[in-house]
Amino acid sequence: MKLLRKNGLRATALGALAVSGALVLTACGSDDNSGGSGSGSASAGTGASASAAGSADCGKGSGNLLASGSTAQQNAMDQWVKNFTQSCSGIQINYKGIGSGAGVQQFLQGQTAFAGSDSALKPEQIAQSKKMCTGGQAIDLPMVGGPISVVYNVPGVDNLTLDAKTMAQIFNSKITKWNDPAIAKLNPGAKLPSTAIQPFHRSDDSGTTDNFTKYLIAAAGSDWPYSGGQTWQAKGGQSAQGSANVTAQVKQTTGAIGYTELSYANASKLSTVALDTGAAQPVKISSDAASKAIADAKVVGTNGDLALKINYTTKADGAWPITLVTNEIVCDKGNKQATLDATKSFLTYIASADAQKQITSLGYAPLPENIASQVRTAIKSLS
């Protein structure tokens, strides 16, 4: 009996030891993320040869590039990284789509070489970046254009045209039936049912929401009485988590309308709204149409920052103004020496006309030449 009890005691003690050991281990495990960043170039060596089969210029860059941020440009990045590392095997690039906010955060903490972000840097973020970019500051480089489509599910209606005001009233639950006179006026001849409109929006914070509501604010005026931002503010309608879920909900709900990136609309074969912008013809969404709108954008960043302001009220023929431009964020001066060369050659590659054209099939809009050339010049002067 005594023996038994002693063994039991010992087993318990071992158990306790194991548990506390595990706890200690977990405690230590928390800070391993920073290890691989920045100066990880030593191990990769000088494998970056001049083999350059593709169009990418690998330069002297080598090593491990860490980047993170916007999920909106994840697919474009994946494509580019695949192509780029084929010709420049000495550079490994790891882009994590963790959200723009978190990406900028990691960049400002010096954990990544560049960040992808749906929105331009805020003044306080630029101020904060001066600590990290010695002698310089963080700048926005517009890189990936993302057309945002308005998708709907109304059986029997194949072509639907809306203007900004009607769209604002639909998403603000002011227009509630598909056969509302305002919609009928824009669609003469269409057989509009009396079904209730079920507007869908994103439940999570997102750059898509931000840009869609920016358009409504600029183009719909008093019909969209909200201040905008990444959080959806209007009342009414239903929400869903992420673009995929919004698309799925619109697909399975009769009378639904929602906004989502063009790639999701294409993949799910949903009908998209044509936009009456005031141009001669209602504008149909496409990568080209979005590029035309980006060409009409103004650079509003200062001191080398190329942050764009889309002209949401553009009346240019065939320009689709509901377009998101996601930026890459780097230091203009004071980038980490270890990753500078690799960063420059990768950014130069993705800003090239060739690379920009490759992402069109993924539902993105290539940068128009007037913007792209400014971006390339800015990349050249990075130090």
Binding site: G101, A102, A196, D204, D205, Q230, Q238, S239, Q241, Q252
Partner: protein, 338 residues
């Protein structure tokens, strides 16, 4: 007694045979070292737990205070959650309501069902049915919550529409079951509650089953000897004995329901509307709110989310504390001491 005295007393009494006391003396310190080690380990683990709790609470409070101090709404009564805007306006009213209501409904559905399953397994079913059934329940507990979420969004939601319409038609007068727009998708707090109930049934069932197995055979046989039917045995001997165990089991389930994140975020059509119409696609919960906003949150937005997390932490503490009080008070009557 003699032995201990000789062991404790120093050398002075010489004539004793040397071998015996020596072994005694040698054995004692060995035991004491083990005792001390064990005391250190178990005590250390206990203290580590307290330190962890204090660290979590401290971290949450520190970040939360920063956010709340800049909140231009009332943190407890504001409905919307806008941390991006200047000035930021956010509050937890909708989240607290959604979290508590969905958990209460989930408990109301899950606890009776779980007790039923556990009783069936331990007292009614033939062994050949009971052990596979217990195994299946265990399996349910191991399904990841995102899988429940996908199942909820793709299967449960479309199939809840009929029930919603029925509730709306016959129980619409209760206000709670009135749908503002009859036929809108069942992506509501009510559907979330049902999903949560399904998720916590396995936990509550497992623990209650173990408790029911502990009921002394003698109690049940005594009841049978007095002429009790099987239901009366359950009512008179099993349930009273297991009461505090059932409460503990329910608290474990409630903990999961309160903190469930992905399943809720996938199913619920969240909004900043505090709606007592439980069938409307409105509302939100703390955990869902964090999941929805964390990815794109700025530093300040994170602090605000952490403030929300702190409130959930406090609610969980209060609920657990209340449960402990109930168990402590009921212990004397439970028959557990008999």
């Amino acid at each position: 007694m003699d032995m201990t005295q000789t062991a404790d007393a120093p050398p002075p009494s010489p004539p004793q045979p040397s071998a015996k006391p020596e072994t005694e003396v040698r054995e004692r310190p060995a035991l004491r070292a083990g005792d001390r080690l064990f005391l250190g380990l178990s005590g250390g683990s206990g203290i580590l737990l307290l330190v962890l709790m204090a660290a979590i609470a401290g971290f949450l409070s520190y970040r939360a205070v920063n956010a709340i101090s800049q909140d231009h709404g009332n943190f407890f009564t504001t409905f919307e959650w806008n941390t991006d805007t200047t000035p930021p306006v956010f509050g937890i009213a909708v989240l607290a309501f959604g979290t508590i209501v969905s958990s209460i409904i989930a408990m109301a559905v899950a606890v009776p069902v779980s007790i039923g399953i556990a009783l069936f397994i331990t007292h009614y079913a033939h062994r050949r049915i009971a052990s596979p059934l217990a195994y299946v329940v265990d399996l349910l507990a191991a399904v990841p919550s995102i899988v429940y979420g996908l199942w909820g969004a793709l299967f449960l939601v479309p199939h809840m529409n009929g029930l919603d319409l029925w509730l709306d038609r016959y129980f619409g007068w209760t206000y709670v079951f009135d749908q503002s727009t009859p036929g809108s998708a069942a992506r509501s707090l009510f559907t979330v509650s049902i999903l949560l109930a399904i998720m916590i049934v396995p936990i509550i069932t497992n623990v209650s089953r173990e408790v029911f197995r502990q009921v002394p055979r003698a109690h049940q046989e005594a009841a049978l000897a007095l002429g009790a039917t099987r239901w009366e045995v359950v009512r008179l001997s099993v349930l009273p004995f297991a009461r505090s165990g059932i409460i503990s089991a329910s608290m474990l389930g409630l903990g999961r329901a309160l903190g469930e994140t992905m399943a809720v975020a996938t199913v619920l059509s969240s909004s900043s509307v505090l709606s007592l119409h439980l069938l409307d696609p409105e509302g939100g919960t703390f955990a869902q709110n964090i999941a929805s906003h964390f990815g794109e949150a700025t530093n300040f937005g994170r602090d605000a989310l952490i403030a929300g997390g702190l409130v959930l932490f406090v609610i969980t503490l209060i609920v657990n504390g209340a449960a402990r009080l109930i168990i402590a008070r009921r212990k004397e009557y439970s028959g557990a001491n008999a």
